[in-house]
Symmetry: C2
Subunit: 412 residues, 2 copies
């Protein structure tokens, strides 16, 4: 089954927001074995919505419209479908009751504009909205299914999960479904990764294998289409095994994992706690760890020591070290990592000192970063030359610190 | 002039990324007085790209394509345009030299696939790519201008700023141009701000005034269309004055300002330095300050003290305070701010202690945050009840800390 997603909303054309609904719906539909061939965005304009519907219906089994179901005058998606095919709009009692109850509970009068949110084309199947007031619907005309779904992302997601997904499952006559597994890599570029798995990409049939370059990272999405869940898992395992042989040393996690969550998991499994000493990254490493729910059993905190004075006072870096080697040095990174580990009484300490730019510092070009890792066994310092602007260098430095903690890819 | 933006890339249809290029281009084109009526996304598929070009050319003066200019086999945007109108593809020497120099400098052979990035349709004006290898182009066929631009966002932005914007300016025959000024507000919601400037929005003609809700912040974009730059500035000043009368207490900056850059500017103007003591925010405030170029003359660093032990040892918070009031308390915030100010020897100290969630802590619900500000005059603690998930609470806490430092909007 082929589908097109039409997002309705002038705010999208003005560039006020990105079409994240298109991305979300593509992801969801893929999992039901639906192929998406086009995304379209049109404004809140009845003739233009009708035209988009007409073009999409010619080429697709499914046309999904999101947005334009609200109470204001420019919400005309329902009307566009009704006018295009000469259909009547009627109220859904359950949705109407909900609108009226909502306004009554607030002692406000229900306007006709608000009641419009309970309208659907005659003969449609209605999707209730458990996160808002505008109901959704699906209507079959000729050979095409038209889904009308709300625009606000949390309403859309709630309706898709609770109402649309089960409907799509029921529509799926072949009972095929898609199961995906995302493998996450750090320390290898997209083209290098593609080269290593090129034979697998060339041979792919089912499962398929799709590389995607993200920010500083690369992922491979393995997707199997099947009717049998245990068979699906087996096939994904086999493909993952083949991938692992080719580039396993760069694989750090799966699906929702991040470098930060994996690093904390790894330390947790060893029973180790962690403190950070940040100069070049100014708090970004600590903030990234804190973003992981449940971080506090591993991550104790740390010191942001931008100035030499703070490095000496807070981390007990020796004045002689700073004088002889500078703050951007292997020796300073070592003393920072050991200092923060002692000061915070943790099992491991990690330090970051370097040059974010735009100007060089102590004769080092921007991108020069030393990462110190002090563990119960030893202290080791890694040197990096990172590319990019100030913000990229800092972002990559903290990710590299995780890679060092995980020893993903080893020393570079 | 009317335009359609066509983004090319199967990864967009698979839902791997959102079409942020569409959003960016809409914003840019608006500033050149171009109206966007449609966004389309198609996959890396030659017949489908040709079809999208054909439909768009019927209805628009300008068709912008992004993506599909790279070296791999599925990059076929140039070929689609060339085939659709029967045009020859030829090399641009400057772009070709760049591709060859790039590979030579890495001692790698240049493949024909890589050379393809220097191709353009005969008779086109070529845009050089100063952030990558694939050149862009603009070609006029019949009454429509076709712009082909790279897909990677940083390449797209560089090319738009350096090459496409000046070209669009030159195309603009009326010599009218748009001048915008963005006013940035914190501490007031979108609907409350709109209500305050409702009369200005109703009366708007030239300049126009457009509210936009961003992440935790609201902006008003004032845009004037004119041929006379000094007249433009005067009109923007007058409208800003009218806005200021209605909600000036929430205005913190303009255009590229952030709460963090404005806070640092404000402290710099007073000749004050700053240290941060972070518990609930785990380093995010420090990281946000460090993101501002030139931060180091104001921002000295700080301590991330997640545990009570660290608060006592690093910041000299009294054990009795933690015992009697807990870590999430006005008393603790006060001692943290004073402690970090003393420890780092700065003029000001700011502290953040609270509950990010998802679980309550010390009986306080998620979102409870105390912000301590210790300055040469006094120490003051602000209490906040923030909404949202873990990550939103932390993000808002650090922004609120800036607002407190700036005294934007006063106490809430």
């Amino acid at each position: 089954m082929n589908a097109e997603i039409i997002a309705v909303g002038t705010e999208l054309l003005l560039g006020q927001i990105a079409n994240t609904n298109g991305q979300y719906l593509s992801n969801q539909l893929m999992q039901h074995g639906v192929n998406i061939y086009k995304h379209t965005v049109v404004g809140d304009n009845l003739p233009r919505i009708r035209q988009a519907i007409r073009i999409a219906a010619k080429e697709n089994d499914i046309v999904i419209l999101t947005g334009g179901l609200g109470p204001t005058e420019d919400d005309v998606t329902r009307n566009a479908l009704a006018e295009e095919y000469g259909l009547n709009l009627v109220y859904n009692q359950q949705a109407l009751d909900k609108v009226e109850a909502f306004f009554e509970s607030r002692n406000r009068t229900v306007s006709d504009a608000n009641r419009r949110q309970a309208l659907h084309t005659e003969g449609a199947h209605v999707f209730q909205n458990n996160a808002g007031l505008a109901c959704g619907m699906v209507y079959k005309h000729s050979d095409a299914w038209f889904f009308l779904l709300p625009g606000p992302p949390h309403e859309l997601k709630t309706m898709v999960e609770e109402e649309v997904s089960p409907f799509l499952d029921a529509m799926n006559e072949s009972r095929d479904f898609l199961l995906s597994r995302v493998l996450k890599f750090y320390g290898i570029g997209e083209s290098a990764l593609e080269a290593r798995v090129h034979d697998l990409i060339t041979q792919q049939t089912n499962p398929t294998i799709a590389p995607l370059a993200g920010q500083d990272e690369v992922t491979l999405r393995l997707t199997v289409k099947t009717t049998d869940r245990s068979d699906a898992k087996k096939r994904l395992d086999e493909l993952e095994e083949a991938v692992y042989k080719r580039c396993g040393s760069f694989l750090y996690g799966y699906d929702e994992d991040t470098l930060f969550s994996r690093t904390l998991d790894d330390l947790r499994s060893k029973g180790w706690t962690l403190a950070v000493a940040e100069s070049v990254s100014g708090g970004l490493l600590g903030a990234s760890f804190t973003d992981v729910s449940g971080a506090s059993d591993v991550y104790a905190g740390g010191a942001i020591t931008y100035s030499n004075e703070a490095k000496e006072k807070q981390l007990h870096v020796k004045a002689a070290t700073l004088e002889q080697h500078g703050a951007v040095s292997e020796a300073c990174a070592k003393e920072m990592a050991e200092g923060v580990r002692n000061e915070y009484g943790t099992d491991t300490g990690v330090s970051l000192t370097g040059v974010a730019g735009p100007s060089p510092q102590e004769g080092h070009p921007p991108g020069t970063v030393f990462i110190g890792i002090s563990s119960p066994d030893k202290t080791h310092v890694y040197k990096r030359r990172l590319r990019g602007d100030r913000s990229s260098i800092r972002r990559r430095a903290v990710k590299d610190a995780c890679a060092c903690l995980l020893e993903v890819g080893g020393e570079k």
